[in-house]
């Protein structure tokens, strides 16, 4: 039970911790402060409790598709907020209002990610702490898993902060785009699961190259939404979302060049 708890909690914590680390590094880089993070924690925690507490109702909603639709919505929202962050983060014109919107978008993205991952953690811990003989193992394992996940987040944050400023900003924006795009792809899987999206044929099978059950596969899954057997629909949406991120990032930087000339 102990090792199961470690792995389970680590997987969930890692996903949110990586996004948090990159956005914290980015906000220091853009000098907009990190106070938004505490607001995100509060809203994320409230949302987690509400979502986990109403999961039974949510699951049965929409003809049994409620859980998937809710989770997919949270993941797509993260992507939408990240697109906004890309737009504002790369634009040259700095103003107080831009910074304000930027921190709100960051807080919303992190809060959504916390709710998505936190609800599962809460359901697991509450569910199994009710079982006397498993309680100690679940608490200990969860603490260790969370500790490792948070440490890896700190490590990524420190790495991004150690980079030279312009490189760090580019790295943050690319990483956050890849993470958010991965989330959209995972959300398409959820919608296929409840038959709201057609599950087409598997496009390729890279499980012999990087298995999703290997450590590398787990990390790639947690950070970039890695999928070893994507369907045509998943791959198509992934590509489209990634292209949109790059187009927005590049267009916004291009505009920056134009403003500088004028």
């Amino acid at each position: 039970m102990l090792i199961n708890s470690v792995i389970l909690i680590l997987r969930e914590v890692l996903e949110a911790a990586m996004l948090v680390s990159v956005l914290l590094a980015l906000s220091l880089n853009l000098r907009v402060g990190v106070r938004w993070f505490f607001a995100a924690l509060v809203f994320g925690a409230i949302g987690t409790v509400v979502f986990a507490g109403s999961l039974e109702i949510v699951t049965d909603a929409l003809d049994g598709a409620g859980q998937e639709v809710a989770n997919a919505a949270l993941q797509c929202l993260v992507y939408i907020f990240v697109v906004g962050i890309l737009w504002l983060g790369t634009s040259a014109t700095r103003s107080a209002s831009r910074d304000k919107v930027l921190v709100i978008l960051m807080a919303c993205a992190v809060a959504c990610a916390i709710i998505r991952e936190g609800a599962e953690i809460l359901i697991y811990i509450v569910g199994f702490s009710a079982v006397e003989e498993q309680r100690a193992a679940v608490y200990a394992g969860s603490s260790i898993g969370a500790g490792i996940g948070l440490s890896l987040g700190v490590l990524l944050f420190a790495t991004l902060r150690a980079l030279e400023e312009t490189h760090a900003k580019t790295a943050c924006l690319i990483l956050v785009s890849l993470m958010a795009t991965g989330m959209v792809m995972q959300s398409t899987m959820l919608l296929e699961q409840v038959d709201l999206l057609p599950s087409g044929n598997t496009l390729w099978d890279s499980s012999s190259l990087v298995s999703e059950q290997s450590i590398a596969g787990e990390v790639l899954y947690a950070v970039f939404g890695y999928e070893s057997t994507p369907s045509v629909v998943q791959a198509g949406i992934y590509l489209a979302c990634l292209v949109l991120c790059f187009v927005i990032g590049l267009y916004s930087s291009f505009r920056k060049g134009a403003t500088r000339v004028s």
């Binding site: 199961n4 389970l8 049994g64 038959d195 598997t202």
Partner: protein, 107 residues
């Protein structure tokens, strides 16, 4: 009103008759899946209804099927899978991965 009800019912029944998705049921008891091995038709979309008879929550998960869903204690959940190429597709309960193991055989 009655007519529209009738119309909706006819539409719904025609949709479900058209879809004809086969339904299979799996039970979770004492952190074990029953049946452990489920045979389903290959190249056909299938609806799984997973009943969690335990008091603790479970997460139905499969890397091969690209599926994951939390099922609270004493509840059930629907999961659509396929169309699958013939083969063996293992799945497990993420909250009790040591015991909760099962496989779907598409044939």
């Amino acid at each position: 009103m009655r007519f529209s009800c009738l119309l909706i019912m006819t539409l719904l029944s025609s949709v479900s008759a058209f879809a004809k998705t086969p339904v299979f049921e799996i039970e979770i008891r004492d952190h074990l899946f029953h049946p452990e091995e489920l045979r389903i038709p290959a190249n056909t979309k299938v609806k799984l209804i997973v009943h969690n008879r335990d008091s603790t929550p479970e997460e139905f998960e499969s890397y091969e099927l690209n599926r994951e869903k939390v099922i609270m204690g004493g509840r059930k959940a629907n999961v659509f899978i396929g169309p699958l190429a013939p083969g063996v597709y293992p799945y497990f309960g993420e909250f009790n991965p040591k015991t909760a193991q099962g496989r779907i055989i598409a044939e």
